[in-house]
């Protein structure tokens, strides 16, 4: 972490889903999901494709409005909810620097240029600030996307298969970054698909099946079993 840029770490945000449903016409993406995640937990979300993981994350990010039920957050402070999505959520036609400065400014952060530079440095993209995102490799784009999500110092970080596209070094960096966030009290909700360095730091695992909670290791249970059985189960193509 670069020195000189003072960042405050807000307390983690807890999120509670109350009978959340999301339907698209006749198709139910989420059916009656009730789940409470306390501040500071690191929750892994597993399940086959189409089980509702992405939809649940987007509902938590307030990108999708539930058809029924509510989502409540435990912190009303200026804590931020951030997301690493399926897409990289960055502008191809702008440079890495310009992208990060843009989002820093939108989040009302002081010293946007310095923060952007620091974030690039942390992501191992230090020398590439002036390059267009379009020119980045898959792995670099993913790193930059994660860096963008971390920029405002989130209290709740939602991640949709964040290890996708990352090489071994990238996955290690991701694991270290998430461990650091966790130590700072940030709540993590991460959907995962396959083995990853990041599994070791999870405190809880939830398995979704056809839009419902099939298995939940609970706040004090052992997540590894749920993770193992889920990953061993046949995945849809």
């Amino acid at each position: 972490m670069a020195t000189g840029t003072k960042q405050t770490f807000p307390a983690g945000i807890g999120v509670e889903f109350q009978q959340v449903e999301k339907r698209y016409g006749v198709r139910f993406a989420l059916r009656g999901i009730s789940l409470r995640i306390a501040a500071g937990e690191s929750v892994g979300l597993v399940g086959a494709n189409g089980s509702g993981k992405t939809t649940l994350l987007k509902v938590a990010a307030r990108l999708i409005r539930p058809s029924a039920g509510k989502v409540q957050f435990s912190s009303a402070e200026t804590s931020v909810v951030s997301m690493v999505g399926h897409s990289i959520l960055l502008y191809d036609d702008l440079t890495a620097d310009e992208n990060l400065v843009l989002f820093a400014r939108l989040y009302g952060m002081e010293g946007s240029r310095e923060r952007a530079a620091a974030a690039l440095e942390s992501a191992g993209l230090g020398g590439r600030g002036a390059d267009l995102v379009r020119t980045f490799s898959r792995g670099m784009r993913q790193r930059l996307s994660i860096a963008r999500a971390l920029l405002p110092g989130p209290g709740l970080l939602l991640l949709d298969e964040p290890a996708t596209g990352l090489d071994a070094a990238g996955q290690q960096w991701l694991g270290e970054t998430l461990a650091r966030l966790r130590a700072q009290g940030c709540t993590l909700l991460m959907s995962t698909h396959g083995r990853s360095e990041t599994h070791a730091l999870l405190t809880r695992a939830v398995r979704l099946e056809a839009g419902q909670v099939a298995k939940d290791s609970g706040p004090s249970g052992d997540p590894q079993r749920v993770l193992a059985t889920a990953l061993a189960a046949p995945q849809e193509a």
Binding site: R23, Y24, G25, V26, F28, R31, S67, A210
Partner: protein, 246 residues
């Protein structure tokens, strides 16, 4: 679940006969009113001096436009109500009213030329009211076209509600701009200008009342159709859901 499929249940339940009776009475009433209005337009209203018998079409041409406005106003209000509350019944009302509005304006666009040809010798003049009706007709046809191009029901409702609101605010602008344009570049006018003989005015209002009756009947039927479609979908979803978890 049975709660939601009320219309389907109702249409086959015990109260059906009474309601069918009421519906029939209302339809008969409107038909009667329409008949009276038609008779009045053809025989009671005085013959217009310059245009002769063909002018009588004015008694349906003008009120059709007014009725169309009422229908589009309903779409406007229903669109706003939907955006606020997200209750699908407002969306169903909006689309039903829009369709009926288009139907009435189609009548306007057909009766206009029918009137114009014998009087002016041409099928179409860019008369202010006719042109505005044409633009309005286009606008709400676009509303319906937009709906066919969005598959997901909630997105379709939201997008068409916003478009419907824009289109509604455009209505006065369309009329004013075209009317003002015509004052600067005059053309043969199809609508009757100047003050109206009191008997003519009364016949006109009578015809409007009849058309409003027709509109209400059509609207109710169309809305009911939309509700039934919605409930069939709900039942289909529910049965799929049950067979999934069975």
């Amino acid at each position: 679940m049975a709660q939601r499929a009320t219309s389907v249940v109702e249409s086959t339940g015990p109260g059906q006969r009474t309601r069918a009776g009421v519906h029939a009475a209302e339809t008969l009433g409107v038909a009667l009113l329409l008949g009276v209005a038609g008779y009045a337009a053809l025989f009671i209203a005085p013959t217009e001096r310059t245009m002769g018998v063909i002018q009588r079409i004015f008694y349906f041409h003008v009120p059709s436009a007014w009725t169309g406005f009422v229908a589009f106003f309903i779409t406007f209000v229903a669109s706003i109500a939907y955006l606020r509350g997200r209750n699908p019944k407002w969306d169903r009302l909006a689309v039903s009213a829009a369709e009926i509005g288009v139907a009435f304006f189609t009548v306007v666009l057909i009766t206009g030329p029918i009137w114009a040809k014998p009087v002016w010798g041409i099928w179409w003049t860019w008369d202010a009211r006719l042109t505005s009706s044409f633009v309005l007709w286009l606008l709400f046809v676009c509303y319906m076209l937009l709906r066919t191009l969005v598959d997901e029901p909630e997105r379709r409702a939201v997008l068409s509600a916003v478009f419907g609101i824009f289109a509604s605010f455009d209505i006065p602008l369309v009329y004013f701009s075209i009317w003002f344009f015509r004052t600067q570049h005059p053309q043969p006018v199809i609508g009757a200008g100047g003050s109206l003989d009191p008997l003519m005015r009364n016949v006109l209002l009578l015809c409007w009342a009849a058309l409003l009756g027709v509109m209400v009947l059509l609207l109710r039927q169309r809305y009911r159709l939309e509700t039934l479609r919605h409930e069939v979908e709900e039942l289909r979803t529910e049965s799929a859901r049950r067979s999934d978890s069975a």
